[in-house]
């Protein structure tokens, strides 16, 4: 584990030399060096999860999630290749058809990482047949709305509530295609949990599930983060490590 600190260790990512500190994963080191690897369930403030698989790269020829794969000195990593981007596009299409995503009417449009990443990966159609799942909205809470139609099961809210807020407001239940987000209340309603707008969990959703009420469209479409510049050029909305 102990690294010789005189010469920072580095690996090669798409021909660029990326320095890293011991313990960093590929995406953490890449992000610190300002290199974008598409991702959704990864957020530098939280322990990597490795579920969305969008950040998959080829490390020494072997495909692996770059958010969980530890960087190793001399490693040769491919990320921005046609093969990988084609596969990432297919994963995005899967996420789009799995839920109910109607970007034109979504409050998160322009600030949504799923939408922005789909633009980044040149996704022009959902390609697959839509599943059209039945996912009722939870509007029980006075301040916040949960629109489960947009959930991509990244579990960032689960991790934020558990690890930062110490509350466990959210959890995943079910299995397979029936996996779904639940809240910690016997009624199943957010209003009956100890969720608060000040929670970290209120701010981490990369899509439009957890929304503050009565501020919809305060920033007009066209002026939002990813309307200004693509996600690959946008520093991560959260504080970066390192």
């Amino acid at each position: 584990m102990s690294q010789n600190n005189n010469q920072p260790a580095s690996f090669e990512l798409d021909g660029k030399t990326i320095p890293f500190q011991a313990g960093q994963t590929i995406i953490q080191a890449a992000m610190a060096a300002g290199v974008y690897i598409p991702h959704l369930c990864f957020n530098p403030e939280f322990k990597p999860h490795g579920s969305c698989k969008l950040c998959t790269v080829k490390a020494n020829g072997r495909q692996t999630a770059s958010c969980t794969q530890q960087a190793q000195a001399g490693m040769v990593v491919e990320s921005d290749t046609k093969e990988l981007n084609d596969e990432r596009r297919a994963l995005l299409q899967m996420l789009f058809v799995e839920g109910n995503h109607f970007c034109p009417s979504c409050e998160k449009s322009g600030n949504c990482q799923l939408q922005a990443t789909a633009y980044e990966m040149d996704m022009m159609s959902p390609h697959f047949d839509h599943f059209f799942p039945d996912r009722p909205v939870d509007a029980s809470h006075a301040e916040y709305l949960l629109d489960f139609n947009r959930c991509i099961l990244c579990s960032l809210c689960v991790r934020a509530s558990r690890d930062v807020d110490g509350k466990n407001v959210f959890a995943l239940s079910g299995r397979g295609i029936k996996t779904h987000l639940i809240v910690n209340a016997r009624s199943g309603h957010l209003a009956d949990t100890d969720f608060s707008g000040a929670d970290k969990a209120a701010q981490v959703c990369p899509v439009g599930v957890i929304l503050k009420k009565r501020v919809g469209f305060a920033v007009p479409i066209g002026e939002r983060s990813f309307d200004q510049q693509p996600i690959s050029a946008t520093p991560h909305p959260m504080k970066q490590e390192g």
Binding site: S51, K53, M94, L153, A171, G174, R175, I177, N184, A185
Partner: protein
């Protein structure tokens, strides 16, 4: 019981009712959240499902949020958060059950009991649904009633079961022969024929040094019998060398469709399995072991507990085993609850820790970071049984059997179109043709080796051999004669993967369902050459992006059957151009069902099909 308690409805009384059965369970499991799945399973055995009040009680008693309890419960097919009836009937739905007519029997039982498949009867008496392979393919069709296995279903047996349920006869009073699970051992080799006096292998191991015992295991060239074939000696050594509290885990989550050898080993050779685990404990320095038994084998639980307590009396488990002052080891049995993915070793460990059975990110591997993040050996039932014989007779003896790459013998679970389904033990290197001849198969079209995730072998390949160098297998050997439709075989397996995907990673969660829908599209006569390309693409994605082996192998049955049994697909391909999966007329079927109409006026014109 459920309806009675609901009548005395004041909240406090209800809570007491749940506390009454939960407290002893909690105490037995030391109020440990690591035993959450076991606690839920036992609670359900008492009450039929996990009542919301029971979750409240557990949440307080275990100091865990109720969302976590619901999250764990919701992962497992056999844990219910809603009432599912006093009698919960699940028909095993492996392709072998289908070939033996399970669908007709399910329909018959549903109509006799006035209940729709997948639903609960209006009086709350019974629910009838399907479940993944229950490991009784040699004596199917099979079902589980309140998680207890019933075999050899016939129309007579179904009629009798309908009557027993209608009369509310308790399961314990049902005819014993309904539950008489047979071993069906057809061919014995060293593993099944060697007599092992309990303790003999352990004594032999204790007479050697620990290093010498490990050396024997390595010399034997024993490889894991779960299918992947990792060197057992190396696994034990890696674990032994890792610092921490060591654990031995026996993977008896035998969920691969068509596999049932572990059922027989645990039923009739449990001593060999436990002795192998104990030898492993000696080598790696473990004080604690687990047998993770699939929920479908619930009926073996009491028998296995009895074997364990006898072994404790014989000083083969517990403190100072066989007088060895520095050797304490004991084994607990944990039951699964209907989740195939828990056969993956890191998912199994998560499940052992009372969590959702999601495979972990690897590395690190269980040998260094397993149960409770401690060094853990996870081996298959058959591996431990073989290890006991190696401890007894030495590594050279074992290595001399089989082939140079695959030493020893392999148990095959033979089912499907053959005269003598059951367990066959062969030295590695035996050909598929030899097995087919021995089991009385004729007119064989194909054999599915190693279950849904394995490989489909066609007639011209029957000269191939069982072994890691050619056809590695966890043991399933399903035979299909020429009357069988290999497309339906693949479709059954694809539905299985979609049902069993854990849902953690995007490609497997969504991809297995997409694949399932594509196979249904073919089945409905809407397949086109375009869909073949789609399946190829999906396979590529699942292979490269999935989190674990389930996703990696989910497309195998389709690719194999497309390559080898293309006519089964072609005959479903009415169209050469692209056809959407959506079928307007079929979409109206629910409306037809609700209105009770099926006349021509209730159908759309089908002139587009004549093109």
């Amino acid at each position: 019981m459920t309806s009675e308690s609901a009548k005395k409805s004041p909240m406090t009384i209800l809570k007491n009712i749940h506390a009454e059965y939960l407290e002893p369970i909690l105490q037995h499991h030391r109020h440990s959240v690591n035993n959450l799945l076991q606690i839920l399973r036992e609670a359900q055995e008492h009450y039929g499902y996990i009542h919301a009040d029971a979750i409240d009680h557990l949440s307080v008693a275990l100091s865990v949020p109720r969302a976590k309890i619901e999250g764990v419960a919701g992962f497992y097919s056999f844990i219910y958060l809603q009432p599912r009836g006093e009698y919960r009937v699940l028909f095993s739905d492996n392709i072998t059950d289908r070939m033996l007519g399970n669908q007709g029997l399910l329909t018959s039982l549903c109509s006799q009991l006035w209940v729709e498949p997948g639903k609960i009867s209006e009086d709350g008496l019974v629910s009838i649904a399907t479940t993944s392979c229950t490991g009784l393919c040699d004596q199917g069709p099979a079902m589980l009633v309140n998680n207890i296995a019933v075999n050899r279903l016939t129309q007579e047996r179904i009629n009798a079961i309908a009557e027993l349920i209608r009369e509310r006869v308790p399961l314990a009073a049902w005819p014993a022969d309904f539950f008489a699970i047979e071993d069906n051992i057809r061919r014995k080799d060293i593993l099944l024929s060697t007599e092992l006096t309990p303790g003999a292998a352990l004594s032999a191991a204790l007479q050697r040094s620990i290093e010498a015992t490990l050396h024997e295991i390595k010399t034997s060239k024993l490889r894991g019998r779960g299918g992947a074939g990792f060197s057992t000696g190396m696994k034990w050594e890696l674990c032994r060398n890792a610092p921490g509290d060591h654990y031995v885990v026996c993977n008896a989550d035998e969920g691969e469709p068509g596999t049932f050898k572990d059922r027989v080993l645990l039923n009739s050779y449990a001593d060999k399995v436990f002795e192998g685990m104990t030898v492993c404990a000696r080598v790696i320095g473990a004080r604690k072991g687990f047998l993770y038994l699939r929920g479908e084998y619930r009926y073996l639980f009491d028998h296995l507990q009895a074997v364990l307590s006898r072994r404790r009396q014989q000083n083969l488990l517990g403190q100072g085993i066989l007088g060895c002052a520095d050797f304490d080891f004991d084994i607990d049995i944990h039951l699964g609850a209907g989740a195939y993915v828990c056969g993956e070793e890191s998912a199994l460990i998560e499940s052992l820790e009372g969590k959702r059975g999601t495979p972990r990110n690897r590395p690190p591997f269980p040998v260094t970071n397993g149960y409770l993040d401690q060094p853990t050996v996870v081996n298959n039932v058959e591996t431990f049984a073989a290890a006991s014989l190696i401890a007894l007779n030495g590594g050279d003896w074992y290595a001399a059997i089989g082939t140079s790459v695959s030493s020893g013998t392999k148990l095959l679970s033979v089912s499907g179109d053959c005269a003598h389904p059951g367990i066959y033990e062969y030295p590695f290197g035996t050909s598929v043709a030899q097995v087919l001849a021995d089991c009385g198969a004729s007119d064989t079209q194909a054999v599915q080796i190693s279950g849904a995730s394995g490989v489909c072998v066609a007639a011209q390949e029957f000269g191939r051999c069982i072994g890691f160098e050619d056809l590695p297998t966890a043991g399933a050997f399903m035979v299909f004669d020429h009357s069988r439709d290999m497309f339906e075989v693949a479709r059954n397996f694809v539905h299985f993967f979609a049902h069993e995907s854990c849902g953690f990673c995007t490609p497997c969660r969504v991809g297995t369902s997409l694949l399932s829908n594509m196979m249904d599209k073919f089945s409905h006569g809407h397949g086109s050459p375009y869909d073949f390309a789609e399946i190829e693409n999906l396979n590529g994605l699942l292979q490269s992006m999935s989190h674990c082996g389930l996703g990696h192998s989910a497309c195998n049955p389709v690719l194999d059957t497309i390559a080898k049994f293309r006519p089964a697909y072609d005959q479903r391909m009415v169209h050469q151009g692209y056809v959407p999966a959506f079928d307007l007329d079929r979409a109206l079927s629910q409306a037809r069902q609700m209105t009770g109409r099926d006349d021509t006026g209730a159908h759309l014109e089908r002139d587009h099909e004549s093109k």
